[in-house]
Every structure is written in C-alpha cells, then in structure tokens.
C-alpha cells in the first residue's frame, strides 16, 4: 500500500465518521423514541443481498462482519476496504399518520470497514458501523395546566445515533476452524427535544435531554467448515456478544423563548445494559457456485429489562429474535488454475421480532432481499447493489406500519499489501 492510499483511506474514514453523525437527519422512525433507538439489523456488506445472513459465511475478498471469525478467510496479504450507503423509501400507514404526508426518503452512509490478512492464518478488520439511530418528530397539542381553555403544543423530536467502532481479529486452526473476537466501542449521543410552542408556532420554552452513551461491547465468533466430497462444502457458525453496561450521561438544558438558559443540569449517570446476544448460522455450497445460508439471532433483552431505565413510558423491552435465509449464485472463471469470481446474484428472506413491545404488540420486521454484484478484473474495485423490501410494525392498536424499500450500494476496494510496492495479478 502506497502512502497516498493511506491518505485516501484516512479521508474516507473521516467522511464516514462525519456522515454517521448526519444519519440522524434521515427518515423518521416513530419507534426510535423508545429504548435506545432503532437497533441496526443490517451489516451492509456482501451478505446484505442474503437478508444479512452470514454467520457461517466466509469470503476471501469481502469483509463479513456478521461473524468476527470470518476474517481469517481473507486472501493472503490482501488489504480490503468497504463502504456502504443506503437509499431508503418509506411509506407510513396507520391511524397516527396524516394522510397528507405519508412518505419519506433519504440516503445515508451506513458503514466503513477495512481488513487485512496479517499472516497466513490471521485476519483482522476495523470498522465503523451504526448501532442504533433515533429520528422522530411529532406534535402533541395539550391544555396548559391551570387553564381550562388554553391550548399549546408540544413539539417532540429526537435525533442522534449510537455507533460502534470495532476491531476484530480471527485466527484459523487446522484449516477447518476459525475463532474470532471483536472489541467494539459503542458511543454516541441521543438528543431528545421538547419544544413548547404558542398558538402561532413561536417557541416558548425548549427542553433538551442529551444522553451520551459509551462502553465496550465484546463479540465472539467461531466458524467450522469443510468439504463433503468434491462438490459440496459446508459451514457452521456461531456468535456471542457479552452483555455490557453502557454508561449513560444525561444532560438537561432548558432554554426560554429568548434562548436564555433557565436550567442546565448534568444529571446522575446511569447504566443502560446491552444484553447477551446469540447467533447461529449454516452455509452449504455446491461447486463454489450455489450457496445456501441460514441464520438465527437472539438478544436476551428480558434479562436486562429490570436494570434499564429508558426514556418514555408505557412500552416495554422484550427479547428479540431474527431468522433469515439466503441463496447465492456465484459466477466464476478460472485463471491459471485459480477460480476468480466475476459476479454474483443473491436473494433472501427474513423475519424478526424487535426489542420493543408496545400496546401488547411486539414490533415485527420482515422482508425480502435481492442483490447483484460485479467484481472488476481490470481494477481493484468490486460493486454490489442490493434491493430490500420490508414491513416493520403494524397498524393494530393505534401503531404505525412502515413499508420500506432499501437500495444498498457496496463498494469494495482490494489490494495486495506487504509486497514492497509490487502488486501481482
């Protein structure tokens, strides 16, 4: 890798870091006012077209951050960098939705990651990914306390994101087992604002609650893989994330109509617990051409429910789970006895229960995916585009259902490293 490449990589990282902050400007997500926001289910990598199914998936070119054990499969001395962005179109349905405005769209950065095969059996990766996001706004007219007739308006809004910077390492043993560990640093700020407006919309007072979250979050993974005869290969994977207490620092700022500070208090720090998370996955590949994958993930929010004090009221946290299945067709060509992938097609389905239970309804998320990727032979780049249609939530019990359509773009850059400037094809 040349010094100029290092500069470019640094610039990319910087851009992404800034953009992760800007993600809060995206589509409204009404359920994000609860808990610590909308938890991110996607990995925005090669497995996105497989409904993010990839706990047992391995790749010698792409960074499969579904399981930290996967990085040992990177090609020797291979440096790779990936970035992803997503365009989302959402249609909202339900009683709380104003029929005059039911759609929104945005486009946001989702991920930046780098990885390298440090030695023959050791792969490593660093990256920055969203962990949860909060983005909502709504108005609540209310009668001023003490007055029987006067109406004012609460304009509630919440913006912010919690991100994860990680460093993952994996090591391969006996050519059939890979073990990995990911040290994630969760950090971010959720900004909740309550603006009281007069009848003419003028701000009378605003209360801003900032919650800063941070702590380490460890994830461990393992993959076992092998061949069955000449044509079939198999893989089994598992992940485990150890529960962690996020240190939550609260600050409450109250500003008057003239923006004068009425109160600015740092409140007592608390901990918000992230639960134990489990995941298992399977993969089956035929002739390096067809691949079937399946995942099941489970987060034990019930176990940490009592400890957590989340913003808001009248909803509860429940253990979440997600099942997914994917199928991939990979088109390869043989060069000098090596099979090189030219393109691939993916599809997948998923179904899950989120960690929010509102009005007796656990918020469900389900959908289908399809993706297509091309690996350039003339350049070190690979591209993929993935489509995802899904349904989240329900219109029952006065809730909101989101019908969303995502278009994900993945750009992968790869180069041979540690060759003293010479690259080989």
């Amino acid at each position: 890798m040349q010094p100029s490449q290092i500069k470019r990589s640094f610039l990319l990282y910087l851009l992404t870091a800034i953009s992760l902050g800007a993600m809060a400007q995206g589509n409204f997500s009404p359920y994000s006012q609860m808990g610590i926001g909308d938890l991110e289910d996607g990995f925005y990598n090669r497995t996105t077209g497989l409904a993010n199914t990839g706990i047992a998936y391995r790749s010698n070119r792409f960074l499969i951050n579904n399981n930290p054990a996967s990085f040992s499969d990177l090609a020797n001395q291979y440096f790779t960098m990936e970035t992803s962005l997503r365009g989302t179109f959402i249609g909202y349905k339900g009683t709380p939705v104003d029929i005059g405005s039911t759609q929104s769209a945005d486009i946001t950065f989702r991920r930046l990651a780098m990885g390298i095969k440090v030695s023959k059996h050791w792969g490593t990766s660093i990256g920055l990914v969203p962990y949860s996001t909060e983005n909502y706004e709504f108005n609540v007219p209310y009668a001023i306390q003490g007055s029987g007739t006067e109406i004012a308006n609460h304009f509630y809004s919440g913006h912010g994101s919690v991100n994860k910077a990680y460093w993952a390492n994996s090591y391969e043993f006996f050519h059939h087992v890979s073990i990995g560990a990911e040290a994630g640093y969760i950090f971010g700020q959720l900004n909740q604002k309550d603006i009281i407006q007069a009848g003419n919309g003028a701000t009378q007072v605003s209360t801003t609650n900032d919650v800063n979250l941070q702590n380490l979050y460890m994830t461990y993974g393992m993959q076992v893989y092998g061949n069955i005869g000449k044509h079939w290969s198999w893989g089994i994977g598992g992940t485990f994330s150890n529960k962690a207490d996020l240190l939550a620092s609260y600050n409450k700022l109250v500003l008057g109509a003239d923006s004068s500070t009425l109160q600015n208090n740092e409140l007592q720090q608390r901990y918000l617990s992230l639960p134990n998370s489990y995941g298992v996955g399977l993969s089956l590949t035929h002739n390096q051409h067809f691949t079937w994958v399946a995942d099941y993930r489970y987060q034990d929010w019930n176990a940490v429910q009592a400890k957590n004090i989340y913003p808001g009221q009248d909803y509860s946290i429940a253990s979440s789970e997600r099942g997914s299945f994917g199928f991939e067709i990979s088109k390869k060509k043989t060069f000098y006895n090596n099979k090189v992938e030219l393109s691939y097609f993916q599809s997948g389905v998923y179904y899950g229960n989120s960690y929010l239970q509102i009005n007796g309804q656990q918020i469900k998320d389900m959908g289908i995916t399809a993706g297509f990727g091309v690996n350039s032979l003339k350049t070190p780049l690979a591209y993929a585009i993935t489509f995802n249609y899904g349904i989240k939530g329900t219109t029952k019990n006065n809730l909101v259902r989101e019908n969303y359509f995502n278009v994900n773009f993945l750009i992968n850059y790869g180069a041979i490293w540690y060759t003293k400037g010479k690259k080989f094809e």
Binding site: Q25, F28, Q145, V205, T207, D314, K378, K423
Partner: protein, 478 residues
C-alpha cells in the same frame, strides 16, 4: 507479471460520490405523524403552568386635581352618573378683539346684536345621556384671569374663577347629537356643528361703542383682558329629559358683534376670538354623595403629594378609573412571589393582566374608556413608567373588547411580563409595595369623562380582574 496501474479516475469518482451523498443526506421530506405522545414521559420535559389565582388588590387612587388647561376642548355640562354621582364641568376662557377693528361712522353704522358661537365637532369628547335637553349659559368672569398665585402653575380641574352671577346669555333647551351622520346637523339649532348663544344687548352695545370711540381698552388686548377678564361656559344643571351630559366644544369659539351699515344689506360683524388657549381650562366638580365613593376625602393637597388609596372593599368592591376627575386604579399582587417558590418553578414565561369592568356598570350611555394604559407605581401611588409588552416598546392601551350582549366578556388585556419578572423574585424591602396603575393615557386623561369600574376579586372568577402568570415548570430530576 505486471506492475498494477492504480485507477485514479475511479478513486476520484468514489470520493466525489461519497461527498455528494454526504450533502444529500439532508435533502428529504418527512411524513406528519401524531405518534408518540402516549409514550412520552410527561415529567421529563418542561411544561407551562398558568396560575391565575394570585391575589389582586384593587384600590382607587384619588388625586384632588388634574391639569385641565389647554386641553383643546371647552367641556361644559352636568350629568348624574348612577355610579360616580354628579359631575359638573364649566369651561373658562378668554377672548380678544381683532387686530384690525373697523372704523365706525356715526349715523352710518348702527349696532345690531351680540352672540357667542361655539362648535361641537364630530368626534369631540362627550359623555352622558344625549337625550337630555341642555341649556348652555354664558357668564362673564369677574376676576383677574392670569397666571399669578394661586394659579402660578396653571389651571387645574379644581381651579375656579369668580363669575358675575348675571347671565350674559343662554341657548335655551337644545339637543346635541354627537353620533349623527356627517350630513345632518349636530345640534337641534340646525346649523351644522355650530351653537349660537345670544348675549346681553347692553354688553354688545358697550363693546360697539368702544369700537366706535376707538377705546384704549379695545385697541389693546392686554387692556381688554384686564377689563373684560373672560367668559365661563356652563349649563344650568343636568337639563330635562335625561340624566345630563358633558360635551367638549372646540376651543375655537368666538364672540361676534353684528352691526349695520346704511345702504349695505350684507351681514357685518366684528369677531372676538378665543385667546391664550393654554389658559382655557375646565373646572370640574364631583359629588359622590350616595355613591360608593362617598368616603373619598377631597382635601386639597400640594402638587406631587402622595394620593390616597381607597381599597376596593371600601368602595363597593371595585376600583374606579376616570382620571379627569382624579380617579385611577392601583393594583398590587401580594402573593405573586409564592409562585417562584414552587418546587417546579424554573422561570417566568409571560404574565397577562385581564382587567374586567363590573358588568352592569357600563352601557351605551355610560361608555367604557376605549383605552386604559398600565403604568408602574410604588408606595407613593404616583404614576410611573408605562409597562411595555414583551419585545415591544411604548405604552399598552388594553385592546378593549366590548360585548354589549355579554357584558361580562368586556375586558382590557395587558402583557405585564416585564413587570412580573421584576417583582416575582425581587427580595428588596420595598418590593411588596410595587404595583400597577391603570389610567387613561394622554391626552384623553384630561379631556374625556369615559370611565371604567374595575371588578375586584369579590366577583366570580370570569368577571374579576385577574393576573395570569405563565411559568415554566420542571420538576427536579436526579
């Protein structure tokens, strides 16, 4: 094996795309959702709480006099207000001969008559019962009319000049129609806005002779005023057919001597115009017998002394605003500081003062003052500075809402945020004496009899004067 060429164009494209996306993140529309209010913690954010139960102490401040000279109006009449009793106003003014007097020739010019012409213009002030027949009377002032003790500082409402009890003239019973259309005459004399009063013939003859003889007293204005002094316009009581009224006439009246010239048919006259308008004043007398204000002591004080305050409990559970007769209302708020002591109080948002007239105290006859200003005051009960609305400058006038069908809805409303902000957390020893004065703003404070009877807190909630304090509430959090 070949050395790989790095694809610079593609990398440039990649970076450009990323930059473009970064800027596009804010370019999106959003739905309108009414979701989430059930799940919002009410105590997490601040709220607005209104307290409209603060004690408002209403008092009537009585000043024994007001400046009524040079107001631009000669106010004359008497009315009997069912609430404020009998009010009488007499106008004193001076006239002066014209600069160029005609040369009169014996046998050719002969005296005819003399009269006073006064004008009631549209929109001039008036108050009372317009169905009363009024008889306007003119008397000659019988004393020196000049700025010398006791009138060194000008003339006040309680000033008086001795007059010759013999009338110089009177209109006889007439009506004035102040609300008539422009095309119709405003008086029953039928001459547009003009009222003519025939004056004593002997006075006219004497003045005619003085002109004829080129008397020094009529050639010299000062000499004329030393001799003639001035005139007093009044009525002989409340009149007949009603409860009386006071009308304000323009201070452009004139005294006219009519004479004839042999062989000339055209009307000829000499006009004596009003002069020294700044010394023309209205002398006002009130009689509070058999009213709630009968306890008021009308002692004559010195200029600037502390006017006495009469609590509303002693004056029929009301305060009274009629500054031309010396009545203003003071408001105090003895419990307002307790709001700031509430555990959830973190700041004042705004404060609104609603002044409500006693519902049956006003009507189309006993009209409300259209503008009432709000001013600061202290323990001296003197008028302070106007209380401006938040973010604005200048005095407020209350924005009177009149509803004749639902008189309890009539109200003057003020933004008194700046005043409440100054006292709600004020621990100075004299802060409890700070208050507000309600009065008619200039110039009507000395040229208008329209009044307000302010309801105190003995009235039911929606008919009393209230102070609504909107404060920002936030309960303590750990």
């Amino acid at each position: 094996m070949t050395i790989h060429k790095y694809p610079r164009k593609k990398l440039l494209f990649l970076f450009s795309s990323l930059l473009a996306v970064f800027f596009l993140t804010s370019c999106q529309k959003q739905p309108t959702l009414r979701f989430g209010n059930l799940y919002t913690d009410d105590n997490n954010g601040s709220n607005v709480v209104v307290v409209d139960t603060s004690t408002v102490l209403v008092s009537t401040i009585y000043s024994d006099s007001t400046f009524t000279d040079g107001t631009g109006f000669l106010m004359a009449g008497t009315y009997k207000d069912p609430i404020l009793g009998t009010v009488t106003s007499r106008a004193f003014f001076q006239i002066t001969p014209p600069a160029g007097l005609p040369s009169l020739i014996p046998g050719i010019n002969t005296y005819d008559s003399i009269g006073l012409v006064i004008f009631f213009k549209k929109n001039n002030p008036w108050y009372g019962d317009t169905t009363s027949l009024q008889n306007y009377v003119i008397n000659q002032v019988d004393t020196a009319y000049q700025l010398s003790p006791p009138f060194l500082n000008g003339y006040f409402s309680n000033s008086d000049l001795r007059i010759n009890p013999d009338k110089l003239g009177e209109t006889g019973p007439i009506f004035i129609y102040p609300s008539r259309l422009d095309s119709a005459p405003l008086t029953s004399q039928g001459i547009s806005d003009t009222i003519k009063i025939r004056l004593d013939q002997s006075l006219g003859q004497r003045l005619f002779n003085m002109v004829y003889s080129n008397s020094d007293s009529i050639n010299n204005p000062t000499g004329f005023q030393n001799w003639f002094h001035g005139l007093c316009l009044s009525t002989d009581g409340i009149g007949t057919g009603g409860t009386g009224a006071i009308y304000g006439f323009k201070d452009t009246c004139l005294m006219r001597i009519y004479y004839r010239t042999a062989g000339v048919f055209a009307q000829q006259y000499i006009d004596f115009n009003i002069t020294q308008k700044s010394l023309a004043f209205n002398s006002i007398r009130t009689n509070y017998d058999n009213t709630a204000l009968k306890i008021i002591q009308k002692t004559t004080g010195y200029y600037g002394q502390t006017p006495q305050a009469y609590p509303s409990k002693a004056t029929g559970n009301a305060g009274y605003i009629q500054p031309i007769t010396g009545l203003n209302v003071r408001l105090r708020f003895p419990t307002i500081k307790s709001i700031a002591l509430r555990p959830d109080y973190i700041g004042l948002l705004r404060a609104t003062l609603t002044v409500r007239p006693v519902p049956d105290s006003w009507s189309t006859t006993w009209r409300l003052a259209p503008q009432i200003g709000v001013y600061t005051t202290d323990q001296n009960n003197l008028l302070g500075t106007p209380v401006p609305a938040s973010g604005l400058s200048g005095a407020q006038t209350g924005g009177l809402v009149v509803d004749y069908f639902n008189p309890q809805n009539a109200a003057y409303t003020y933004d008194v945020t700046s005043f409440v902000k100054a006292i709600i957390t004020n621990n100075a020893t004299n802060s409890d004496s700070l208050g507000l004065i309600l009065t008619v703003p200039p110039p009507n404070n000395v040229a208008d009899f329209r009044r307000v009877v302010v309801a105190d807190q003995s009235f039911q909630v929606n008919q009393r004067t209230t102070l609504s304090v909107y404060y920002i509430s936030l309960f303590p959090h750990n």
